[in-house]
Amino acid sequence: MALQGVVMNSEVINGTPFYLNEPKRALDFLVEKLGFVRRGNPMSKKQNIAMLCDKYGNFYEIFSNNRKGVNSKNDFNLIINTSDCLQDFYNVNPKGLSALNKPHYVPEGLAFEISDPWGNKYTFLEKRDYTN
């Protein structure tokens, strides 16, 4: 799928695409609770709701789930890359966020999941290099 991207300083920046239930509320949740920052202006207002940036400078292109062919209410999972999964888990706990599980080891590294009140799931993933 070609990404729409955002325009920042005349440069088009693409982010990882994610589809969210109740995207406007979910965006507020991401900004207020998880420290995301809104960046740039969506190029296509029909599809792309916003571009977000996390504290590591990773971009996430947020779409509404009201797209053709996307029906499920429960399949929306935004993967948030982190460099320190345990610290993020420690930080989200006092904010009253609903953790679905504790940090656990997955083939890619260490991860835990939280959810928002609109059925979106967010996976914090600390990717680890096991090749060495």
Partner: protein, 289 residues
């Protein structure tokens, strides 16, 4: 510089950055000792082991030991001392059903293994990531609860590693009798520790065999059953691992590294390094820079 912290649950963390230090007659709780730079020598009974970056040492509760740091470059060492209560809770939570944990959440005696094989373990993968984060948070004076999360994961990952490195590997030995198998495995770990501690020295199969109280032929045959390589290949691998660490973390020249890790011929080193890592040493240094 020494930093020591006792957490709310009596777990302790200790960090030391120095070029020279010596401590005798140490005795603690179960502890994990890791070195991020330089090296640290431990004398445990008659045995001496040296911990280099890429490995860690486990010492049981009550084991008496001396430790020495004597290094040309600054050594950065770190240790976790697990309190007995923390260990007991940890083991209880893993050995009991959810119902038991709800019915009797505290103060239940658990008969579990509290002593481990005191040997050098590889500090790779998850445990390396975890310890690196832990020391960073320790240096930043992070909250006790966060530090405790890392200590919990360190222990969890150690149990997993212990199962892989000790329980699984010892079962690879052909010896039928359990006590014979355990004794043989113990001696083979002495051989392995001797190589990891002296990888930069000119050591022979006879030296290793003498240290481990195994005949050279017996050592050669049984070592392969556990580590899937000969003692010589294991030694070469330890040298290459340490050379790679030096290429990444120091400014030593290639010739200096060749000497420091115990190779005599630079061209042999380059050939072996390239075979193992698919980079020349110089190429690897540029790649990770």
């Amino acid at each position: 510089m020494k930093t020591f912290k006792v957490l709310y649950n009596q777990n302790k963390l200790y960090s030391e950055i120095t070029t020279e230090a010596s401590y005798t007659d140490q005795k603690n709780e179960l502890s994990l000792h890791v070195v991020f730079n330089g090296s640290e020598k431990y004398k445990i009974g008659k045995r001496t082991v040296t911990v280099f970056p890429g490995n860690f040492l486990i010492l049981n509760e009550g084991t008496a030991y001396d430790r020495t740091i004597y290094s040309d470059s600054i050594a950065n060492t770190f240790a976790i001392f697990f309190s007995n209560k923390f260990l007991r809770d940890f083991q209880y939570s893993f050995s009991s059903s959810e119902q038991d944990l709800l019915d009797e959440p505290i103060d239940r005696e658990v008969i579990q293994q509290n002593t481990f094989l005191e040997t050098i373990y590889p500090c790779k993968g998850d445990i390396k990531y975890n310890l690196t984060h832990l020391i960073d948070h320790f240096n930043e004076n992070s909250d006790d609860l966060l530090l405790d999360d890392y200590i919990y994961h360190s222990l969890l990952l150690f149990y997993r590693l212990y199962y892989k490195e000790v329980m699984t590997k010892s079962n690879c030995l052909d010896a039928l009798n359990v006590s014979t198998r355990n004794e043989l495995f113990k001696r083979l770990t002495v051989a392995k520790d001797y190589m990891l501690s002296n990888y930069n020295q000119d050591i022979s199969l006879e030296d290793i065999s003498r240290q481990s109280c195994l005949s050279p032929t017996h050592l050669f045959r049984t070592f392969k059953q556990i580590y899937n390589c000969s003692p010589h290949q294991y030694l070469i691998q330890a040298r290459l691992d340490n050379a790679r660490h030096m290429l990444q973390n120091t400014n030593y020249t290639l010739n200096e590294i060749v000497n420091l890790v115990g190779f005599t011929c630079p061209s042999t080193f380059i050939k072996l390094f390239k075979n193992k890592y698919h980079f020349t040493p110089g190429g690897y240094r540029n790649y990770v820079a």
